[in-house]
Symmetry: C2
Amino acid sequence: MATQILTRNEPRGGRIASATVGSDTAAPLAAAGTRLTFRRGQTIFYEGDAADTVYRVVSGAVRTSRLMPDGRRYVADFLFPGDFFGLSNGAMHTTTAEALCDAIILRYPRRLFEGALEVDRQLGRTVFAALCGGLSHAHERMLLLGRKTAVERVASFLLMMAARAEDNQVNLLMSRGDIADYLGLTIETVSRVLSQLKAQGVIHLSDPTRIAITRPSTLRRIAEGGVWRAQRSRPGTARRRTGSWPFTAEHR
Amino acid sequence: MATQILTRNEPRGGRIASATVGSDTAAPLAAAGTRLTFRRGQTIFYEGDAADTVYRVVSGAVRTSRLMPDGRRYVADFLFPGDFFGLSNGAMHTTTAEALCDAIILRYPRRLFEGALEVDRQLGRTVFAALCGGLSHAHERMLLLGRKTAVERVASFLLMMAARAEDNQVNLLMSRGDIADYLGLTIETVSRVLSQLKAQGVIHLSDPTRIAITRPSTLRRIAEGGVWRAQRSRPGTARRRTGSWPFTAEHR
DNA sequence: CGTAGACTTGACTTAACTCAAAGATCGTGG
DNA sequence: CCACGATCTTTGAGTTAAGTCAAGTCTACG
């Protein structure tokens, strides 16, 4: 696996290949894809566009998001090399897709993709697994959004990002605003939590985009909610202990 | 479609058939399923159980949920006749499934289900569509959990439930606690919001389980966040107007 | 090297949560 | 059939985690 990792401000794309869905599994599609390049910030498709194409990241990174009428934004996903996006069961895209950094994207006509699904048993299995995985990931995130505190959300996010990187070095391609809209928080809260984690020595921030996880196990414990004293009152209903900020250092 | 609708306290299951995935699409599976009956509150499988079977609701309703170590609960889904559940990409179930009322469930060996997927092209298409639909529904819910207010969440939930019923009459099989854990709120907040909506004449509660939507369009507007004055400050970042409760009656 | 945008930090506000207690409703058994 | 305990729901009063508003600070880039 390539050692270079993209930074938000890096001028041109980095590692090609690897990730989520093995690049070889889409062999029959490979020839049919149109190779596109996008610069940082460029839009790939808009919410409401006809969903007659399917996309796959070759290099770089992509963000998909939705807007509510009053401007509240929801970041649906961050996509990295190997990831498919733009699949839809309806006629229109329900999200807007934008390049987080300069990126190379493959585009397939939807019907061709669906045709390949019918013919290629292996691709079918892969896509089935990817969809199941996506659903399971979505449930993980709904638990996060519905029941986790701000620290737990940010900790979970960092671990998620770290899972793709190596050496517990995370290089954020997305802004604090993107993270906030992904986690259901505000920019300020994300920033504050990162500062707190830094002050506790759990992470190290050399600059806003480069994060090193210095205590992975602590971060994992925080993410799982294990830092709060187990205290279930009525079983079967969410309830959490009260009190502020008791996770001083290495207590467990 | 059958007219009878289940109530939480109804002793025995009601309408069979219909819903989400047409019952005919699973024809090759039909013979292989084991018919099981569960009483209200009974567990169908536990989080952590081997995921070697797939289930489908015939009649009644099912709730899937997860617990965090400290007792916080997340309700993953409510399932109704026709719905599949228990699909997993891993070796274990990640949720616990319980009957919301007396229910009849079909159980299939997982490998048989997966085998049928490979052979039966129509079933494959159906399941693919169902998974895409599930993902899109999940995104809808993540937007709800991450960015919507308590009223907006409850309004969205009621509309979701109403979509399955008729005449805008919703019959809740689940408790306030279930709803709270589904929406990322508390029992008290759910109850208060329902009382507010009732006070505003948007809904009518004859008893806690029977809800009539008296002003569907208002409820829809509330659910979409259209009740708050559109006011985006920094574009691209969630921000909402401040102030309490300005949706007095029929303003718009 | 100055300016626009992104990030951080502080002070204050609020939507939703917690705690608490009073109604409803249910199911069971006498 | 009705009484009674258990459970669920509603409502009130006070608290808090996270949001809002408002400066500052830093950084990248023209």
